[in-house]
């Protein structure tokens, strides 16, 4: 601890001389506003990273700067991101203590209604810097370590487990995949590295609460999960309670590698506050007989752009995306799925349900790709959208490319609203209009909610009730 503090002081001094970085106390890190080569060197230095990582970051920065914004197909809202007004790195120590007075009353009310424990509340509201997960999960961690499971932060992973980490890092999602994956590669910090040894089936879902950050700090988590032959793991991120966040940009990269016969399930519940740009790249690589499932639920944020993908590289590999999106006033949930079939007899399934409330807009964007000379690939895509109010909006833009006649693909999408009869029937039996609407919406997504672990699905239902409130009548 002492030596770390010393290094920190040293860095701080050097930086003071060079640039306009400012950090009031010596043990706190702040890379300042804007993104330059210095920012990257600063992050590398603070994190004490090997040279190859620093080089990787620099290359990524060049890629980021050279790539245009994808506004030729995406929403123009992206142009409102001011990359110079964002602080790209702050360590935990620099998190200012926020007082309860700063937390908006509606967030507090939501905590009450969802029944979030007192300690978690403080963490979620940003009043407390770090949720004390160590105590709660130490037993689980011990059991995992006995089986050879590695579950560490990403920076620990790249330093201490380089031999496993490096061969797969940046391989599933190359830096140049898109502008935001390049941004993440340049300034990544936080996130998890998980390795499951061959044949190990992790019984409990692994869970990581995000670290909370200070104002205007974009989060750039980088997660890499490798399940070796025959291993199984379920990973959960996020939580149903709203994250009170004044940060405006969140851009994570998540890479999954499922070796022969492995299974990975990745569950996300995203409920950022409605000022956040959530631009995330997620992709899995499934080898022979492996299975990757993305279960994704987007409720919060101003703009979410997230299209989890699976590259089915080995024969009989399977990919699945199950997604629920709820867009309320001022929100745009631009989500979807990417299924790349790269071997024979691979199958993929996409089920997406979205609900647009008030002036909310939900979008499904999908890609299914079956290249030449393959046999027996199958894809099924279903998108259902529910519109609640007169000015709600929904879009669907899938793209399906098939070469050859040995495959079967089908895509279907529908848009509907809660039928008058259904509401009338329920109101006849004593429910208020809002209750009836809420019940109907929960019914619409019920079969997907069941895919979530129990405690999540309970919270999810309550959350949807909450979001639906005041949307009718």
């Amino acid at each position: 601890m002492n030596s770390e503090t010393a290094t920190v002081k040293q860095v701080a001094l050097e930086k003071d001389g060079v640039g306009n970085f400012s950090f009031p106390e010596s043990h706190k890190f702040d890379a300042g506003y804007g993104l330059t080569k210095d920012t990257i060197d600063y992050i590398s230095k603070v994190k004490d990273e090997p040279a190859w990582v620093n080089e990787f970051r620099h290359k990524a920065l060049e890629t980021f700067l050279s790539k245009p914004m994808p506004t030729n197909w995406a929403t123009k809202d992206l142009e409102n991101i001011d990359f110079d007004a964002i602080r790209y790195y702050l360590s935990d120590g620099a998190t200012p203590k926020r007082s309860w007075d700063d937390v908006p009353p509606e967030v507090l009310e939501t905590f009450d209604r969802l029944g979030v424990p007192e300690q978690e509340r403080a963490f979620l509201a940003g009043v407390e810097a770090q949720y004390d997960s160590e105590a709660a999960y130490s037993n689980v961690k011990e059991a995992l370590a006995d089986e050879g499971v590695i579950f560490v932060t990403c920076s620990e992973g790249l330093k201490e487990h380089e031999e496993i980490f490096r061969p797969w890092f940046g391989k599933v999602i190359p830096t140049g995949d898109n502008k935001f994956s390049a941004l993440n590669s340049a300034v990544m910090s936080g996130g998890s590295f998980i390795y499951i040894p061959p044949g190990v089936k992790v019984k409990h879902p692994l869970q990581a609460y995000f670290r909370i950050n200070s104002e205007n700090f974009g989060q750039f988590e980088r997660t890499l999960i490798i399940a070796d032959e025959g291993a199984e793991v379920m990973y959960m991120e996020g939580c149903t309670a709203p994250k009170f966040e004044t940060a405006t940009l969140h851009s994570a990269v998540v890479e999954l590698v499922a070796m022969k016969g492995a299974k990975i399930q990745y569950i996300t519940v995203q409920n950022w506050s409605s000022n956040v740009f959530n631009l995330v790249t997620k992709r899995g690589l499934a080898h022979e007989d492996a299975e990757i499932r993305w279960i994704d639920c987007n409720i919060g944020s101003r703009l979410t752009m997230k299209y989890p993908g699976v590259v089915m590289k080995g024969e009989r590999a399977r990919g699945e995306v199950i997604s629920i999106a709820l867009a309320n006033d001022g929100q745009h949930q631009d989500t979807g799925a990417k299924m790349i079939h790269a071997a024979n007899n691979t199958t993929s399934n996409v089920v997406s349900k979205s609900i647009s409330v008030g002036e909310g807009r939900s979008t499904y964007r999908g890609q299914v790709h079956i290249p030449k000379h393959l046999k027996g690939c199958k894809n099924n895509t279903e998108c259902d959208a529910l519109l609640i109010n007169t000015n709600s909006r929904t879009d669907t833009y899938p793209a399906i490319s098939v070469k050859g006649n040995q495959h079967v693909t089908q895509h279907e999408a529908s848009v509907s609203q809660v039928s008058e009869e259904m509401l009338f029937y329920m109101q006849q039996r004593g429910l208020s209009e809002a209750q009836a609407m809420s019940l109907a919406v929960n019914g619409f997504i019920n079969d997907l909610v069941e895919e979530f672990p129990m405690e999540y699905s309970v919270e999810l239902k309550r959350l949807i009730d909450l979001e639906m409130e005041g949307s009718v009548g």
């Binding site: 030729n72 197909w73 030449k372 000379h373 959208a385 519109l387 609640i388 109010n389 007169t390 000015n391 709600s392 909006r393 929904t394 879009d395 669907t396 833009y397 899938p398 793209a399 399906i400 490319s401 098939v402 070469k403 050859g404 006649n405 040995q406 495959h407 079967v408 693909t409 089908q410 895509h411 279907e412 999408a413 529908s414 848009v415 509907s416 609203q417």
Partner: protein, 380 residues
């Protein structure tokens, strides 16, 4: 045409860019094919062998840009292009039509009228036919439009149609594209439907090496009904790129799109469709289906069905499928003595029939099936 009309259009044309790869409307498309720079308009053409007459139809025959025979009280040849617009990625090509097209065939009627337009295409160069169909209240207009190559030269047909259906009118239009496989076809098919009008716009593609078709249907009055139909049968060396837009701008409107592609050899198809429902266009019923039947292991189909819904109380859906003739169907037919090759062809033909039947017009259905059968005879 007088230079005063053409010059602003030429100016606009010069100011626009040819399509580029990054344009969303050209995704998966062969944007380079659309670059027609330096091409001159085609000269006088020759006529080919006239197909058998359609009973009750008035026939008008063109050889390239020149009217060869036929006339109708409801059709008038007007100087210059009617000025098509492209809202699906090819404004440069639309401007080219406006600048260079010699004349527009203006069809206008208040009663029943049946017209057959035959365009014989010959020689190399740019051919820019244009048709406006104006159905006034109570009219029932049927139009057959056939593009037939006379020789093997690489013709470029850049054609535009605008269907304007006023209240309580009906328009049925069948376009058959039977060009040789060296030619290109670029087609703008616009339609605007007012209250209680009904339009059925169908196209059958069998020829050409490259087709780009932009169909834009605006359903602008309540109880209007727009049906858009297409059958494509491309083989090796043929690429069909079809973009569609179903725009609902009023309450209680209906549109239904059904596209079926049967792909042989190394054929390539691209379908991109969008159902767009304006704010306040409640009670919209809109459907869109694109089905690809893959006959070989080397063909390639891209589908991008899309929805943009800005109003509630709507019923909208789209579906897209890709598959081959199922083994069970082949087995069933073979068990009844049909050879495997014939069985496949039979199933494939049945696949197209579903689209053609929607025309609900025996004469047009028979013509469409004849064109389809001719293509089937040339592919295996």
């Amino acid at each position: 045409m007088s230079a005063t009309f053409a010059s602003p259009a030429l100016k606009e044309f010069d100011g626009l860019d040819w399509p580029v790869r990054t344009e969303e409307n050209w995704r998966f498309g062969s944007w380079k094919e659309a670059n027609l720079s330096g091409l001159e308009t085609v000269g006088a053409g020759t006529t080919g062998e006239l197909p058998g007459p359609l009973e009750g139809f008035e026939r008008i025959v063109f050889a390239n840009r020149d009217l060869v025979s036929g006339s109708s009280a409801s059709a008038e040849l007007v100087d210059g292009s009617f000025g098509p617009t492209s809202r699906l990625g090819s404004p440069k090509l639309a401007a080219l039509h406006t600048a260079k097209s010699k004349h527009t065939l203006h069809i206008r009627s208040t009663t029943d009228v049946s017209l057959e337009l035959i365009y014989f295409v010959s020689g190399e160069g740019l051919f820019l036919p244009g048709v406006v169909i104006e159905a006034e209240a109570g009219a029932n207009i049927r139009v057959v439009k056939r593009f037939i190559s006379v020789d093997d030269s690489a013709a470029i047909v850049l054609t535009a149609t605008d269907v304007r259906a006023t209240e309580n009118s009906k328009v049925t239009c069948l376009v058959t594209q039977e060009l040789n496989e060296n030619s290109k076809l670029i087609r703008f098919a616009d339609s605007t439907l007012q209250a209680a009008s009904h339009a059925k716009l169908a196209v059958v593609h069998t020829g050409a090496k490259w087709v780009r078709e932009e169909t834009y249907s605006t359903v602008d009055g309540s109880d209007a009904k727009s049906e858009i139909l297409s059958v494509s049968l491309p083989g090796t060396g043929q690429e069909y790129d079809q973009r569609t837009f179903q725009h609902h701008g009023a309450r209680n409107t209906y549109s239904n799109l059904l596209f079926k592609n049967t792909l042989f050899g190394k054929a390539r198809t691209i379908f991109s469709g969008l159902i767009f429902v304006d704010e306040g266009a409640h009670g919209t019923d809109a459907y869109q289906t694109c089905r690809n039947l893959m006959m070989t292991d080397e063909c390639e189909a891209h589908s991008m069905p899309g929805l943009e819904i800005n109003a509630d109380e709507v019923k909208c859906s789209h579906g897209s499928t890709c598959s081959r003739v199922s083994d069970e169907e082949i087995f069933y037919l073979m068990a009844r003595g049909v050879p495997s090759k014939d069985a496949r062809s039979l199933v494939a033909r049945g696949f197209s029939v579903e689209v053609i039947e929607r025309l609900e017009d025996e004469q047009l259905e028979a013509l469409a099936m004849e064109v389809i059968a001719r293509k089937f005879a040339t592919v295996d």
